[in-house]
């Protein structure tokens, strides 16, 4: 999502010169205060509790990194996010490509198909997947008619990945489309004139040029998947919980604020590291294109 933000935020140079009085800055203040009290302060207090609850020190972190159970959760969170990213990329790349070559009307339909679920309630869509994936659900019925299954899909990692991919696909499709629509298709013609078969031309020219979109999309999906709560909680198995579910359990169920906080710090740290990676990638990609 960071890519959307960068696209919208005006470049510093375009900003207007300062008013003599600094009144514009005052306009930011109410929002800033709200953000400080209801966003920054909560995050800080979470970090503090990670280091102080129940006793000051690194106890919560040594607990987190010494219990193999926790490391398994961390690993599972990573692999789940990775799977979601890979599957989303495989589905989104051809889809975004089709959007670039479609006519105006077909493109509008394809865009709508991506955007409508984007804004359809997360809770509703997760509920829908619960129904679809249940043992006697539609997916198993369909598989049954072609002689497969029934598979247990709900309360499995597969179910979690299926649901999360669908929920996160817009974040993959949109940056891919943004980059792909800027690729000059005449380059493919040019490659053809130099003796490259169409498939070869696509791999040599189109794919490398689409990589900025691939990395932006992948990192955005990966970041979002890392912190997902509702979908894994409802579609996944309690014994295969992800980091976000463990945090929920520690704080809401066990009232272990410190341990939950420590896990939160780990998750936040991971997310921020990925965002930094994203920022670097985007900047490099931007440089490569604009020179």
């Amino acid at each position: 999502m960071a890519s959307t933000l960068q696209a919208v935020a005006p470049p510093a140079a375009a900003r207007q010169p300062a008013d003599p009085e600094r009144r514009p800055a005052l306009l930011v203040l109410p929002a800033l205060v709200a953000l400080a009290v209801f966003f920054l302060f909560p995050l800080i207090s979470m970090v503090i509790s990670a280091f102080t609850d129940p006793v000051p020190g690194l106890g919560n972190f040594t607990w987190f990194f010494s219990e193999s159970q926790n490391l398994r959760v961390l690993g599972r969170t990573f692999t789940t996010a990775l799977w979601v990213t890979v599957v989303a990329l495989i589905l989104s790349y051809p889809y975004a490509y089709a959007m670039t070559i479609a006519g105006t009307r077909a493109r509008a339909v394809l865009t709508l198909l991506v955007l409508v679920p984007f804004w359809t309630s997360l809770m509703v869509r997760t509920f829908a997947w619960v129904i679809l994936l249940q043992d006697t659900g539609v997916v198993n019925d369909l598989l049954g008619t072609i002689g497969l299954g029934p598979f247990s899909l709900i309360r499995t990692q597969t179910g979690v990945v299926i649901g999360m991919v669908q929920l996160l696909m817009p974040f993959m499709v949109l940056p891919l489309y943004a980059v792909m629509s800027g690729i000059d298709r005449r380059l493919l013609t040019a490659a053809g004139s130099m003796g490259a078969r169409p498939v070869k031309a696509f791999i040599d020219v189109y794919v490398p040029l689409s990589l900025p979109g691939v990395s932006a999309g992948c990192l955005t999906v990966f970041i979002s998947a890392l912190g997902f709560y509702v979908t894994p909680a409802l579609l996944g198995s309690p014994t295969d919980a992800l980091l976000s579910q463990q945090i929920f359990t520690q704080v809401n169920g066990l009232l272990k604020w410190g341990r939950g906080g420590a896990m939160g710090v780990v998750l936040l740290g991971l997310t921020l590291a990925m965002i930094a990676l994203l920022a670097v990638t985007l900047r490099r990609a931007g440089k490569k294109v604009t020179g």
Partner: protein
């Protein structure tokens, strides 16, 4: 030291026969036949939408003819896909791969042909030397100026010694000065390589500078093919006369004795079966004499009024108005200027042999403007 000798190729002959391309009801290319000799530099010249680029794309294999034949060195290639035609193409917008360096761009067609690495490096160096960009191999296209990018595009298209080099308005995006210089570069490269060049442009000056022969396109058809001089001096149609260079056009009814213009009978070279005719005279073939001057029988004369003069250093242009309200353009070389001035009543004269009588086609102006 690698040179353009490494890249020399035997140019191929191209034969277009009855080539037609329809898009629905629209006929983009209409029964075009053209024979290009091996090693020739031929230019397809015409206004936008005249079918020249479509014809080029058909030769390249990017477009497929609705009907008609296309052979290269006697082999029919209409069914051969673009990437197997072994032609070079230089695109209007260069189409350099932005993610590859200049050297990688130029090596790309060689890689497709599985040329060994060492030989590849030699050929890339030779191509870069040919376009005078020896030290730019490691740069990215975006780090080059427009003219340099254009030369890279040329290098990339000639590096594998294709039998035919196709160029689609390659200088269209550059400014005038750069264009003039690159025209000479392209002509030099053509001379060094021996490849057949097919060049598309809408710029008549470019066509005149570069070409062995020019094919003038209009509305999907070829109006005339020939060397520049022939097209200029002996245009086959009014469209060619109007499109290539400046001319004075005198319209009138054709009779066996000549053509009636401004209530006078002018003598014309040759005859015409059509009734509506146009007598075409190039500005430097027209001369201005004093009012009432009457020349001998080799010459035609018309009264005229000078309405404007433009001094151009090496020459002077005079604009004249004829009695029927049409206008004429005279170019006088420095050193032989007449003393006519704006507002003067004069006599406009020219040798009958210096004019061309063509059938009038009233819609020519609509196409050109």
């Amino acid at each position: 030291m690698p040179t353009s000798n490494d890249l020399a190729a035997r140019g191929a002959g191209i034969e277009l026969t009855g080539l037609t391309k329809r898009y629905g009801d629209f006929v983009a290319v209409d029964d075009v036949s053209l024979s290009v000799k091996p090693g020739e530099f031929i230019t397809l010249l015409g206004p936008s939408g005249s079918g020249k680029t479509t014809t080029l794309n058909i030769i390249a294999g990017f477009d497929h003819p609705t009907s008609g034949e296309l052979t290269v060195d006697g082999t029919a290639i209409a069914a051969t896909p673009a990437h197997k035609r072994d032609m070079g193409m230089v695109f209007q917008h260069y189409a350099l791969f932005p993610h590859m360096t200049v050297a990688e761009n130029i090596a790309y067609p060689l890689k497709q042909r599985k040329v060994p690495k060492a030989r590849r490096a030699e050929l890339v160096a030779a191509a870069l030397a040919t376009v005078h960009l020896g030290e730019y191999g490691h740069r990215y296209p975006r780090e080059l100026s427009g003219g340099q990018q254009q030369r890279v595009a040329v290098a990339r298209a000639i590096v594998y010694s294709p039998r035919v080099l196709l160029m689609d308005e390659p200088l269209g995006a550059l400014d005038k000065k750069l264009r003039d210089w690159l025209q000479l570069e392209i002509k030099r490269i053509h001379g060094e390589l021996g490849t057949t060049f097919v060049y598309v442009t809408h710029d008549q000056d470019e066509a005149l500078v570069l070409s062995d022969r020019i094919a003038v396109f209009n509305r999907g058809r070829i109006e005339q093919v020939g060397p520049a001089e022939e097209l200029y001096e002996r245009p086959a149609t009014l469209f060619v006369a109007r499109f290539l260079g400046e001319s004075t056009i005198l319209r009138g009814d054709v009779t066996p004795d000549g053509i009636g213009v401004c209530a006078r009978l002018l003598r014309a070279p040759g005859e015409l079966s059509e009734k509506a005719g146009a007598l075409v005279v190039r500005p430097e073939r027209l001369a201005v004499r004093e009012a009432g001057f009457s020349p001998d029988s080799e010459w035609n004369a018309l009264p005229a009024t000078v309405t404007g003069e433009i001094y151009l250093g090496s020459s002077r242009k005079l604009e004249l108005r004829l009695p029927d309200g049409s206008s004429a353009l005279v170019r006088e070389q420095a050193g032989s200027l007449s003393d006519a001035r704006g507002g003067d009543e004069v006599t406009l004269t020219w040798r009958v042999a210096d004019s061309v009588l063509l059938p009038d086609s009233p819609d020519v102006e609509a196409v050109l403007t």
